[in-house]
Symmetry: C2
Subunit: 347 residues, 2 copies
């Protein structure tokens, strides 16, 4: 991990050089982990020659063994004060900061540090994170295996009268046996409530012959999975079978188009047009997918607006859904890996 982190730091330093930025201030916890290999709470100030890990006294003991090779700065008064002290020594002028993660208020405080010129930067680490290496993919595969076992378990617990919340609780307990934690609060919906793309579990009880929608993910060493299954609990209207088939076909069509060099917006288009043709264009309420890694939603974005292009090592979801307000919905979600020549469903 240390070795990996070191090469990631070098790659980021190269980017900074190209942008004539002398240092970068990193706040987002997943970015901090990606570069340091530690989940200890803190922020990074990276220069061409040095690497500072800024934390509080609460985390100092934890930080020391996990961050060997780093200069650990334990802030006394405030984060900005600690940054100021480092800046004085560095004499770096142009320092980038993560503009999407520092709040406007934090920026205002940083900009009081006149020793530096503060340059807003966007997605520098996130862009690197979008391409997964073998070790990262292996964590994601492990997360997927736990998730699939969880679906099997959940299905075995389906019975008339169980509530969405009860099932969600059982699911959480089960998945935490082999995973570190869930990657997002489980979505467990019954009947007409399956039309809520991000609905939260309630006391709604399961009845015979209803739809069940489960959207689950777990984390293994920080890496997320994200899968959705719609289950027919008993007999459901023929319409739902047709929609299910449509959605699976849309996924297959899109998968065939996945390869390096293809635009993400094109993948979205394949899915969207298929669903539109079947008359459900207006009720496919979201993008076709999103990258997954240390965050459950990350780069690349598989939407019609996306400017991103597929590259080998990218991992993203394909999740067409049809939502009929008051009636129910169907979504199926898989995770895909972009390979050198095409794409595969990750398992």
């Amino acid at each position: 991990m240390v070795k990996i982190a070191e090469s990631r730091l070098e790659s980021l330093r190269q980017k900074l050089k190209e942008r004539e930025i002398e240092a970068l201030l990193i706040k987002k916890s997943q970015n901090v982990f990606y570069l340091s290999g530690s989940w200890t709470q803190g922020r990074i100030l990276l220069t061409q020659r040095e690497k500072f890990f800024i934390t509080t006294s609460l985390f100092a003991e934890e930080a020391r063994p996990e961050l060997s090779g780093w200069q650990i700065v334990v802030q006394k008064d405030s984060f900005e004060e600690a940054v100021l002290q480092i800046c004085k020594k560095l004499r770096s002028k142009k320092i980038g900061f993560e503009a999407s993660h520092f709040s406007f208020e934090e920026y205002e405080k940083l900009s009081q540090i006149k020793a530096a010129l503060w340059i807003p930067c966007r997605g520098l680490v996130e862009k690197e994170r979008a391409i997964k290496d073998t070790e990262e993919i292996s964590c994601i595969r492990r997360a997927l295996r736990v998730t699939k076992a969880t679906f099997d378990y959940a299905e075995s617990r389906l019975k008339e009268g169980v509530t969405e919340r009860e099932l969600a609780r059982e699911v959480l307990y089960f998945l935490r046996k082999d995973a570190d934690e869930e990657s997002f609060p489980p979505i467990v919906l019954f009947g007409e409530r399956t039309s809520l793309p991000h609905g939260r579990p309630t006391q709604r009880k399961l009845k015979k012959n209803e739809l069940v929608l489960l959207d689950l993910g777990v984390k293994i060493e920080g890496y997320c999975s994200d899968l959705t299954r719609t289950i027919f609990f008993g007999r459901v209207k023929e319409k739902w079978h047709q929609i299910y088939h449509l959605i699976r076909e849309a996924q297959k069509d899109a998968l065939r188009q996945v390869k390096p060099g293809v635009r993400c917006s094109h993948i979205d288009k394949i899915v969207r047009e298929k669903i539109k043709k079947a008359g459900y264009g207006e009720v496919f309420l979201h993008g076709s997918g999103h990258g997954v890694g240390l965050e459950v939603h990350e780069s690349p974005s598989i939407t019609f607006k996306s400017k991103e292009v597929l590259e080998p090592g990218m991992v993203f979801t394909l999740e067409p859904g049809v939502y009929l307000e008051g009636e129910g919905g169907i979504r199926e979600e898989e995770m895909l890996l972009v390979t050198e020549n095409g794409g595969e469903i990750l398992e």
Copy 2:
């Protein structure tokens, strides 16, 4: 709830008037809930006469029944585009935004909307939230009861060989029976690891005659609890008994000083001096406490730097701790309510 939210909106509008701000843009989910009574994902634009709830198509179905009386704006292109469309109709000039919650990047996008002058605002809703009403306190009391039952349960599950992670998993399963969810990932630490104030559960196994530190909280209708207990699993050194006693005495001393009008920094001082006198000043690694409500850390802050003053209805923790690196630590955490004449431990 609707009625409560309405009076909260009026109180906020009054504040805006005083500041000569015509509208306020609110992002933070707890603030959105506080003002709307809904946990549906979205943001609020509040003017003197109108209230807009801006959301995406993902949440539109959910929003409609939960937000009657609100103008629900389903953003098509982007959040900023939706704000722009509202601004055009409003002709409000001075619009405040939550400077601690909007990122610098989001601010940059908002500032492209030239129809408005964007005023950074800090803690407007948070300040209101610091004073709890009867209904809020009742939710917190319920959350505390579940947390205490969870401590009893956890204690009953202590046995040689159980890992921190196993116990954390059991604890989560137990607490979700009666609570909506945990208010933060449970802190479950054994032995020398109890010296990590915010340590994360590992595969460390419990041995006889060790310290066990549990820091747990749950949410009831969005309201959090936050309590810590240090348990002696078997016999531990006399020193730990002394430290435990010291910490409980520091809490008692501080509780006696709690009443409206007292500075939060004074409460911190009482705790800090007591611990310092006993020779542990350097290893009391954090503030004496923090407010708890819709967030597990909110206003007021009980630290030596705090400028806040206690008011009736404030709820905060008192959590002295002594952390001996490599040996272990003891922390006890209670939640207090500021009453008209003094303070009480919330139960």
